[in-house]
């Protein structure tokens, strides 16, 4: 399991033959956004039918499942779980029935007022099926309330936090994105139908043409009469910069940027901010590939291949035991000793979270004979939690939240360590003010219930916010 978990990927198709099959392929190309469960809900005739399961898209669906779902409108979802909730019935799309009929809902993001919404719904008599806070179920309950039943814009305006949404009824597909636009969501065209996806790479997968992003604060209805757009709240963009740095696929266009080229420019900036004399530049694959290419080209230090990744991502199990420790770190990655032996090596990666995996990987280089190891990270240090849908490790485990740059360098046993600055990072975007960098800077664009409930804790965080951002 990755150290940083995103919450979801969305894909919806309306008005195309074999819509569930197209959703299947769309989810397959969004698999990196959620490996834990997958689901598709389809508007087959007058009913919503669904199929969900734990695991990868290719494991969850068999041909007969898609055949059973066959229709011209369907939405799908892939997800990682948040802690303790990796159970079957939390898989999405969530399907329910209320006074207006059946509805399926799929959601990417995190509401910051989900808990109070749920409590007031329960007070009024609501019964929840999911055991932990599932934002999808909260939204569905709100949709069922008489006051919101015919006022979806009003409902969406009362939600706080991050939500990219897909809703399917027997008659229409609805897409919406919070006014901050934290999570991406885009629209494409396929023949006479429409496609909505978390990332543009999924549109290309099924041969659809990219139209545009769903705007922050926009609500889109797609039915047999076509597409109709509405603004439920004025946009106040604070796009999640981490989508560009880490989550999205290099071939996607997100927030107007191509992900690979953006990451390559981070590498160039990093070469400028954190230069070093060295013989070769290598990346930690796959995350560091684009930035390493940028670093090499900007610095003139030749690019080499220092690591090989085992592409068989099937979950290997690890049996306990001291002897297995070494394997644990290296099972996915091996160094190419003849490449790094005797060399001064710049290693570019996209993040350091807890530091343990990084330490083990750089150790591989050392054992393979690297003379010097200079680590360069293509983003600033992670020091604050995210409340908008990314599941970082808890604060105590974020190495940059509890250790200084020197301490980290020492811990990793490398010769130097450099992070990109927040300013440098934002300078690579075309609209620096439209991004959320809370996980680096500690300033949150939308206040959350959670911080309010732990004042002494947030104080501590507040203090840290004042700290100087560490750059070499």
């Amino acid at each position: 399991m990755p150290e940083i978990k995103h919450e979801c990927g969305l894909f919806g198709v309306y008005g195309c033959l074999d819509a569930p099959e197209k959703v299947y392929y769309g989810l397959y190309s969004l698999q990196h956004r959620g490996e834990e469960s997958a689901g598709i809900a389809s508007a087959a005739g007058s009913r919503i039918v669904s199929h969900k399961g734990m695991g990868l898209v290719s494991n969850v669906f068999k041909p007969q499942d898609l055949t059973r779902l066959r229709s011209q409108a369907a939405i799908g979802h892939v997800r990682y779980s948040t802690i303790g909730a990796s159970e079957w019935h939390n898989a999405q799309p969530f399907v329910g029935e209320y006074s207006k009929g059946q509805v399926a809902i799929a959601h990417n993001g995190q509401l910051v007022n989900a808990k109070s919404l749920r409590m007031s719904l329960e007070k009024a008599g609501a019964v929840f099926h999911t055991q932990t806070t599932s934002d999808s179920e909260v939204i569905l309950h709100l949709m069922a309330k008489p006051e919101y039943r015919n006022n979806l814009p009003g409902l969406l305006g009362d939600l706080k936090g991050a939500f990219s949404l897909l809703i399917l009824t027997p008659e229409e597909m609805i897409a919406a994105r919070d006014l901050n636009g934290f999570r991406p969501l885009c629209i494409g065209r396929l023949n006479d139908g429409y496609v909505v996806a978390s990332e543009s790479c999924a549109l290309e997968q099924i041969g659809a043409t990219y139209l545009r992003e769903v705007s922050p604060g926009e609500l889109i209805y797609i039915d047999k009469n076509g597409l109709r757009s509405e603004t439920f709240a004025p946009a106040r963009p604070s796009y999640c910069i981490f989508e560009l740095i880490y989550f999205s696929r290099p071939d996607s266009v997100i927030f107007g940027e191509n992900v690979h080229l953006f990451r390559k420019s981070l590498g160039e900036k990093l070469a400028e901010e954190c230069p070093v004399e060295a013989d070769i530049v290598i990346s930690v694959p796959e995350g560091g590939n684009s930035a390493a290419m940028g670093y090499s080209q900007a610095s003139g230090i030749p690019l080499e291949r220092g690591f090989v990744r085992n592409h068989y991502v099937g979950r290997t199990f690890i049996q306990p035991g001291v002897q297995q420790r070494r394997q644990k770190a290296e099972i996915k990655l091996n160094a190419i000793a003849p490449v790094v032996a005797g060399k001064r090596v710049v290693v570019v990666d996209d993040s350091i979270v807890r530091g343990t995996t990084s330490k083990s990987r750089f150790g591989l280089l050392k054992r393979s004979g690297a003379k010097e190891i200079h680590v360069r990270i293509s983003c600033p240090p992670h020091r604050f939690p995210c409340y908008y849908g990314i599941d970082f490790q808890i604060k105590e485990e974020l190495i940059a939240a509890v250790r200084s740059l020197e301490e980290i360098t020492e811990y990793l046993e490398v010769d130097s360590l450099g992070y990109l600055s927040i300013e440098g990072l934002l300078s690579c975007t075309s609209a620096p003010k439209d991004y959320c960098v809370a996980c680096f800077a500690g300033k949150y664009p939308v206040p959350t219930e959670i911080t309010k409930k732990a004042p002494e804790d947030s104080e501590e965080w507040e203090e840290r916010t004042g700290e100087h951002i560490i750059v070499v």
Copy 2:
């Protein structure tokens, strides 16, 4: 799949070590009440955890599942589906969360006002998770309503129809039975704890001592302080006679009667009402075994074994094709030709529903050389639907609803056919007035929404109610 489907079996344990494991064994002995899905919900600490699945108890649960559920209080459920609803998420116990916390609910029976209850709940904003009318979910939603939240007796008093209920919260286990007492439910004691079961055979399975039935209109709370009983409505018994005739296990005591001895007495009565000269009496196993023994002893005609049943009940699949027809009928049952050849045979069975299976079985006897075949059925002809939890075939398929006794005899190609009379049937009980015989007589003890909604149809049935009941 059987031609007559019951809806459920319930089993709950409170205050015993390894309660989920005991529920597992209890459900195993109630398996005949529902082969389609099984589930257990357990009050593990302050949370309700559950495990459910499609299939037999022995397939749904693995040892590790029970280990995960380990607690001192748990309820379980086995069920058949009603048409079109044999999906995973309809398996019980149904688990939800409302303002008072988590709750699991398991239900046997059928509410006659479920549809209108659900509609008014949805009007008020409720979101249903199950796609078809699941009475359990309706009851749970009512429990969550502010007006019922602290008034379970009032809630139960507003339900109409058949319900034997088990409710589990982290603190207590609740059992209740409708005022008509349609479905059985009994209480037993195991060490310091209590056990509630649909049938007494399940108590014996785990070594519990039978205490008594839950009374019609009774509500029982079991918690760490022991058992507390309350009457939510005055009893007006109309026990389902079909529980005794067909569903329950021969070793159970239901409505005060031992099932085997009751069925044996039906056979004795049948010998009296429908005598015939013959050489041997045989049964259609297993259903006819007890009654055949009674018929033999009352008539003096020796009991023999004319059929052998293949005990490997694993679902065999049948591939289409004319050649398979013969096998289809005989895959579970074969005749013992040397026993019946040249004999005048009385065949005792417990019911004829559509007639096709019966016809094929009697045909086996004919082909094995039986000289005469006299069919005796240990209950009256089925001519009316049940609205209290039994899923007979639809009206058009009930052979006795659409054909006369002579026509049926001719269709079955047997020498004579005799059904037990309603009076004869009731005379075998110790309290004839306390039983519902609506499926034979067409008089319904509790009016239903369903008949109201199809007046022209109910008219036809009303007319039939006037008909003379067919007895030889």
Copy 3:
């Protein structure tokens, strides 16, 4: 798992449409002869294709498996394992290729010279695939030897012990039975084709007509020109009496006897040899059903139903723990207390092996209030091992081999115990001299390698053979 394990059931079809499907149904009705693995080999075109697996027939085969095997000739097999060999690759039919092409072989019985045959084959260079002595593989290796390659009668004449065999090549199906005829094997006709089965009930299952038994010492070739018979050795019948007492299905005709009627006559004989004053006769289902009926009719004591069996034979798992002991014994069987309470009960069963299960069952009757318990067993005490294909418990575990009648009665905590005598048993057959009763009497019709190798051990057995046979 049963206490007495048989080794196999065979079924073959030649010259019929959808032969593998017919074999599937045939095996389904022979399932009682082996629950551990099932397999079908089919002569599809010029190749032998097969499908095998662990578990029941209904679990091992899916419709597509049969479709893949589709042909007009196929053989199948069900088996129990012998100790330590319940692994996949021991499942039959065994398929191999030798100089004459591909061949599949299925076997019921046990060769007494298998070990020495295998050793001499290995000495000559043979490689065995099965890890333990699989008689099928030994026979196939012999078939491949140049000296036997064109002399199957000679090969069969050199085998010693019990073997009912089915062999399939792309051109023909071959059936053979050892000269003692230990295990049953019969031939039937279906349209223009032939069917070979371990028991006649399987012929009836697919609508085939019973022709006759394969004779001891007979070799039958079936190909497109029809059936050709040959005698490879003069018959010296010693049919396994235990096939009639215990293994075969009541509706089968085996060694010329209908199994149910034979067992009923055992009950009649038992009533004569071991009479007792009592109120009711009950059986331990299913094994004791036929004999109990005979005992009741011969003695005039009314037949009742004292036990109910749970028909859901899916393997329930039992978790360890003192508390589970009671359940362990009773999970398949429960007593009907109202039937036995206060009564003097005759309980008829077909065997007592280790005695533990029996003790627990009779204990159920005691706890249900039975006044007296008189156990009657419809065969003599088991005191010797079988070397011809039945896997009894080892000697030390056969209660009758190590305890006297009085000791067993005391151990079982019953009021009296009676076994049928060997003479009484044989008097119920139509050819008493043609049966093997070695497991009761210790006289073996064919000498075995195994006894020869443990002389001091066989001495002890010899001594026991001299003992008086215990009859009440």
Copy 4:
């Protein structure tokens, strides 16, 4: 499934704790050598126990399987099937028993005289379990023959063709490699034990130290007394060049060359032999990565990232239908349009087999707006079959065997196409004469049965051998 299939990967461990677990990790890192089945055989005490299955290593083995196999000596195998033989019982290691006891055997390569060996074995009475020619089973049968039983060197000397072998008995592990050394095999040390692997990357995976290659013609015995080496035939090296070009992992050292650096040098050579004016160099990942890096550095044209690969290799199913065609080609790979749009692009790949996949990938670039597409292949055109263990497409499907360079260029719809020359290829090795280039040049170092049996066919190939090798 890849277009070019290798036959196997081997891994063995002797004298280490938890040997099967180490084999598991070793196989995991050799997964690229065979995705179809995996197996491990272990010398647990005096017996060989094994576990095999279809699919990836991570699917075939569960923790309990490894626990069951636990021992200090084990060998493992991964494989691709050859046509028509992808069945369970062809999975290796092959386990059998002969006069000297149990043995497991795992094999990588292909014997050219397997068919005649098998025929003579069958003539002498051998029974084969595998249906198609399994070289492992042939070798095991030879080992069982009296004349070879104590003469393994003699046996190996009589085998012709490619074989890297691992043999496990309860006492020892044996490794051997054919005198040509077609397939790689190396030895490593782990604590007091030894490890044998197809590639050095697998040694590193478990922390073992690389010692050396098993030499062509060498036979190695490893037992509790350590390692003993013997030469069974004088080495006549003809290493498979395709192992370096295509099969092996970039971090392995094979035939004395690091795979990544070798491939990078192929790219450099290719830049020299087939230069072109262009804006960027991209690779077809993963195969073309190293060569593209070499091409870029030698030519001075900047390296870019033009394709993104979907790393979720779980087998997606493709439903038939015209509409799916586009997806089929692109499901694993997508172009990064903003990178290639308007550019003159050099695309480097490691091979073109049938040409269909390549055509579709280059089409992606075209549709993404590339101005010019110049394809450079880092090996010569494939024009001849391999008889030593690589399963190319059949001759008619090898595009370079049936079309000229101009025709291929036209078919692919690209602007230019360049292959590396045979001379250029060999110049990148340190011992050009020690390699087999039969698949490019048609000259076979070891004569095969197969060509002998089809003279008119081999003639045709001979003729082609005379053709001019196509180089730009």
